[in-house]
């Protein structure tokens, strides 16, 4: 065993190091504890209490400045258990309209460390939340009789209109998970849940302020520390201006009463969402205050799922509303030109396959095909594209090209709307079919139903509306969004930038013309308003759940579009039955401000009809 005595000396360095550190620390401790009396003075009788000051939450306006969501005060009863002295419990309970048993139970719950790990008899504990203004008034007068109790003001939401719940969302008390995720929150704080309240939470909530108070060793507050030199004022939340037109929203919601589905209206030039209805909906004020818990439970268990925002979370087969997009892809890929005509003998008949169609002239080119919603035309076009090996090499390659065009049009992925939980819909890729049918064991005919928006294809009403807006703009769109302005801030640039699909702009005009023809002399004649040029496309989507879904996309005015809509009504039959009337009424209401007399009957019919009864009923 070698021993290196030169190295052994290094023990003095390491030993010396710890001696030096301990010496320095001893000097420091001596300074803190003995030499400097400052700390003693702070602590002997005083200590800090940080008290949060709650800012008011941002107010939400609609696009014309009407107040949609604002604040109302609410009062919580807090208590510091250690400071509570014997008091008239019975009187206290009577004032709050609770029984003495409830009182005892609440106190017991509060002290149970398992359910309330933050309990300390020295710090404020919540005794009761959301006192009504009336109870608050009664209690306030008697407060001096209950030492140890005090009232904390909080802020709740109040709604100017009982609509747009799916867009606005609501606020709820933070959970432990929220606190762990974001240290800004402390127990008892509120945070946005669903809708704009959630996605714009950081703007709306503002910033809590803090008051540094001094209290003595018994916990009693003595005053402000250094006269408030370390206090911080609360910063109010920023106000939001929505793109939503609250009147239009209310009107669209009324048309959708007793129906399941969604209406999305977008201003094409800006991507601003003018109205977004998910039906059935609920009154947002149900989720405010003490009754929130029971109402929320009820909404969750409701079989029509009102909390599920169908406009951006439901993935539906787009049906024939998919055809304009198809037309764009076929033109772009050179599969067809404007004079290419395909035959239709009451449907597409090829390779032992038949996709039915309605009676109309044959053969016909693209624009009349859009006008009459010819299934055969788009089946032929799609089959020719998929099977054009000379251009793409294989069906799989062709399908990938087709899919990428669709993705550029906003399908298959979330568009990026400024609301939480947007669904991506579903656009399969070649790999999906390879897995399902085996590699190169499928061709255009195998998957022919996707050409008319059926089969595997799924899209959200928002995505469908956005495609309509792209056609209205003749070749571009802006990510749809519900917030128009944030006070003192610019909205993120991804909500203002134009996005260009991979399709040449010149083809959009042709498709728009086909959609115009559908209104003037095709499937959506009901939408032919007397003094506004409307373009549109119906959709009738077969689905495994029951009666066909009724859908419609449309925009107006034709030459300078101000509004693009998508209507989707579940189990309501042909597109012309519900989709077209509701869509045209929404456009008329928005553009003219009222419904013309000769169309009042239509409005009446929509307001009164009920399609919810067909939900879940199997076709016979």
């Amino acid at each position: 065993m070698r021993k290196d005595y030169r190295l052994e000396k290094r023990k003095y360095v390491i030993g010396g190091l710890i001696v030096v550190i301990v010496a320095i620390y001893l000097v420091r401790l001596f300074n803190l504890q003995v030499a400097d009396s400052k700390y003693k003075a702070y602590a002997d009788s005083n200590a800090f209490l940080k008290k949060a000051i709650y800012p008011s939450r941002g107010i939400i306006y609609d696009r014309s400045g009407k107040v949609v969501v604002f604040n109302q005060p609410a009062y919580d009863i807090m208590m510091i258990p250690k400071d509570v002295q014997p008091f008239d419990t019975l009187d206290f309970c009577k004032t709050l309209s609770i029984t003495p048993e409830q009182f005892e139970k609440r106190i017991h719950e509060m002290k149970d460390r398992r359910s309330n790990p933050g309990y300390s008899s020295y710090s404020p504990q919540t005794f009761m939340t959301h006192l009504s203004a009336e109870d608050y008034g009664k209690l306030q007068e008697k407060m001096y009789r209950y030492p140890g109790f005090f009232i904390q003001k909080r802020i709740l939401r109040e709604y100017g209109y009982n609509s747009a719940a799916n867009i606005l969302g609501n606020i709820r008390e933070v959970s432990q998970a929220d606190i762990d995720k974001d240290p800004y929150y402390s127990p008892g704080d509120y945070t946005g849940d669903l809708g704009v309240e959630k996605s714009y939470e950081t703007y709306l909530r503002g910033e809590k302020g803090v008051e540094v108070l001094i209290r003595d060793a018994k916990g009693q507050i003595q005053g402000r520390y250094e006269n408030g030199a370390h206090d911080r004022n609360a910063i109010s939340g920023r106000n939001l201006k929505l793109a939503i037109d609250i009147d239009l929203q209310q009107y669209a919601e009324s048309l959708m009463v007793n129906k399941i589905g969604a209406v999305v209206a977008i201003e094409p030039q800006t991507g601003e969402i003018l109205a977004m209805v998910s039906s059935p909906t609920y009154d947002p004020s149900l989720l405010v205050g003490r009754k929130r818990g029971s109402n929320y439970k009820e909404l969750v268990s409701n079989k029509y799922k009102p909390l599920f925002d169908r406009a951006l979370m439901a993935a539906y087969p787009p049906g024939s509303t998919f055809k304009p997009g198809q037309g764009l892809i076929l033109l772009q890929e050179g599969i067809i030109n404007l004079s290419t005509a395909y035959p239709c003998y009451h449907g597409y008949i090829n390779g032992g396959l038949k996709v039915g169609c309605h009676g109309h002239g044959s053969p016909l080119p693209l624009k009349p095909a859009l006008q009459t919603s010819c299934n055969a035309f788009f089946c032929w076009g799609f089959k020719n594209m998929m099977d054009r090996k000379s251009k793409y090499g294989s069906t799989a390659e062709a399908f990938e090209v087709w899919k990428n065009h669709l993705v550029s049009l906003g399908y298959g992925y979330p568009l990026g709307v400024d609301l939480p939980s947007e669904s991506r819909g579903f656009i399969p890729n070649a790999k999906y079919y390879n897995k399902r049918y085996g590699e190169s064991r499928w061709n255009g005919n195998t998957i022919i139903s996707v050409s008319i928006g059926q089969g595997e294809i799924l899209a959200t009403p928002l995505q469908i509306a956005n495609l309509c807006a792209s056609i209205a703009n003749r070749g571009w769109f802006i990510t749809p969004h519900v917030v128009k302005e944030i006070e003192d801030t610019v909205i993120p640039s991804n909500l203002t930038e134009k996005r260009y699909p991979t399709i040449n702009q010149k083809y959009f005009n042709d498709v728009a013309e086909g959609m115009r023809m559908a209104v003037t002399g095709g499937t959506c004649r009901i939408a032919n308003l007397p003094d506004i040029e409307v373009a549109g496309k119906t959709g009738t989507a077969q689905n495994p759940h029951g009666k066909d879904h009724s859908a419609f996309i449309g925009f107006a005015p034709y030459n300078n579009p101000k509004i693009a809509v998508c209507v989707y009504v579940e189990n309501a039959g042909f597109g012309a039955n519900f989709g077209v009337p509701i869509g045209s009424l929404v456009m008329e209401k928005y553009l003219k401000g009222q419904i013309s007399d000769e169309r009042k009957y239509l409005e009446q019919r929509m307001l009164e009809s009920n399609t919810i009864i067909y939900s879940g009923v199997k076709k016979h």
């Binding site: 190295l7 023990k11 710890i18 001696v19 301990v22 420091r28 504890q33 602590a43 800090f48 762990d180």
Partner: protein
């Protein structure tokens, strides 16, 4: 026969002095935890629902563990050093994936009612592995670079894994093992340059806002220290006294020139001036180096150049690499910002709690600051507050001294080991203790940035207590076998 009797009597060689300090520390610890979590609604110290009761239970387990370790054959530790290390490393890898996210850190393995931090058990495993490596046949650290590589591998695998668990504090503790490397032959320059780096950093950040010669006082001070280091190295390291004199004269002369010019109303631009002066000195040294015996002079020049580059990168590193909350903690520690609401709150409260203790303290369970829960984490990382407040300077000094004596004793034990294995292991134990003591108490009294690591034997929590108990008792067991090793 003879070996058997020695085996049976090894308890005679157990270092009861160390065991005694250990017992004193853990008993003081459990009382502190009791005091720190005491709530006037007063539960008993042994109440298993309270922190102190749980700590008592863990201490019981720790003592059982200690006894078990003392009964193991000392040779087993050496034999199973690598397997233990590999096992613990795997455990840490598993931890990253299975551990629940607790306030951003994924370091706790939960087994039913028990949860523990694998990083804590990495400490003794790494120490054993390091000791095993150093004791392998004919291993000398400075023989070849690959030896350094193997040593650093053993140290950095756990560090990386613990960083992946987001437990920066625990990971830093492993850096203390560099003391061991120093003891085993690593050049002292490594520790010295680490010290200089910290010094430069502190100076550059602390005085960054005071203007001086068109730059700031922080940078100017660092330049001056670099000059001083150059002079010292030329004299004490290179033994070139004539050159030292010339360089010193150059520095002093240019300094005077700068001073006079500023008095005359023309302030020289700081950065170009200092860099120019240092560059000229470096070139002079390089000329000397070309005349032979160049290695040491080149090292000197290299040190100066690296220092200047380091200085330039400090600002960048501080503002761009560190997270805002880390910058804040450092600034608060350096006294640049008084931020009583966020980063400074804990430290300020802890200083008040300790400072209010006075010479003899307020008495057991009479602390008001800690009772009113002003100091967060007071039963874990900030446990020293309670001691400071309730036992005063006398108590906290006693705790510090006890730790110092324990560490010095371990160094003494280390040097009496007949085997490299025992010595290296003992130094590992000492290094961990030095680091934990220095950082934990440093942060509580506001001399170190807040890094969340526990105070050994005191802080509430089973993982830390068991980890240090295992570390210490393996050492005591190895030490008890020192006589037997003398036989062969």
């Amino acid at each position: 026969m003879e070996s058997k009797s020695i085996n049976q009597s090894y308890f005679r060689y157990v270092d009861w002095f160390t065991v005694g300090i250990y017992l004193i520390l853990i008993i003081a610890g459990v009382f502190s935890v009791y005091a720190a979590s005491y709530d006037f609604d007063n539960a008993s110290i042994f109440d298993f629902n309270e922190f102190s009761g749980k700590q008592v239970r863990w201490i019981g387990c720790a003592l059982a563990l200690a006894l078990m370790i003392l009964l193991i054959d000392a040779r087993m530790f050496e034999t199973y050093a690598y397997p233990t290390y590999i096992f613990v490393v795997l455990l840490m890898v598993v931890t990253i994936f299975v551990a629940p996210d607790i306030q951003g850190s994924r370091s706790w393995i939960v087994l039913g009612p028990v949860s523990f931090q694998s990083a804590e058990f990495g400490k003794f495993a790494t120490a054993l592995a390091l000791a095993k490596l150093f004791s392998s046949y004919d291993f000398r650290l400075n023989d070849k670079p690959s030896n350094y590589f193997r040593v650093l591998l053993i140290i950095f695998i756990p560090i990386v894994l613990i960083l992946a668990q987001k437990e920066t504090g625990s990971a830093l503790a492993y850096l203390a093992l560099f003391f061991v490397l120093y003891r085993e032959g690593m050049s002292g320059l490594v520790l010295l340059s680490a010290f200089c780096a910290v010094l430069f950093f502190v100076l550059a950040v602390k005085f960054a806002d005071i203007p001086f010669m068109d730059t700031n006082l922080g940078e100017a001070l660092v330049y001056m220290i670099i000059m001083l280091i150059m002079v010292l190295m030329m004299a004490l390291f290179c033994h070139r006294y004539a050159a030292t004199r010339n360089i010193l004269a150059w520095f002093v002369g240019t300094g005077l020139l700068a001073y006079i010019s500023s008095r005359c109303g023309y302030t020289l631009p700081g950065n170009p001036f200092f860099i120019g002066v240092i560059a000229v000195a470096c070139i002079y040294c390089l000329v000397l180096a070309m005349q032979g015996e160049s290695r040491k002079i080149l090292i000197t020049v290299g040190a100066a150049v690296v220092s200047v580059i380091f200085l330039f990168s400090v600002n960048y590193a501080f503002t761009s690499v560190l997270q805002p909350h880390q910058q804040q903690r450092i600034k608060v520690t350096l006294g640049l910002e008084e931020d009583l609401l966020n980063a400074g709150y804990n430290v300020n409260q802890s200083k008040i709690a300790i400072g209010s203790g006075g010479m003899t303290g307020k008495g057991f369970l009479n602390g008001t600051q800690t009772k009113l829960k002003y100091v967060p984490e007071q039963h874990t990382d900030f446990i020293f507050c309670t001691i400071g407040e309730e036992e005063g300077f006398a108590g906290s000094a006693a705790v510090l001294m006890a730790f110092m004596i324990l560490i010095l004793r371990i160094i003494h034990i280390a040097e009496r080991q007949p085997t490299t294995f025992g010595r290296v292991y003992a130094y590992c134990v000492a290094s961990y203790l030095i680091f934990h003591l220095a950082v934990n108490i440093g942060m509580v009294i506001g001399l170190c940035p807040v890094i969340g690591i526990p105070l050994p034997f005191f802080s509430y929590g089973g993982s830390s207590l068991w980890s240090f108990t295992i570390l210490l008792f393996i050492l005591i067991r190895i030490d008890a076998a020192r006589r037997r090793n003398l036989i062969y």
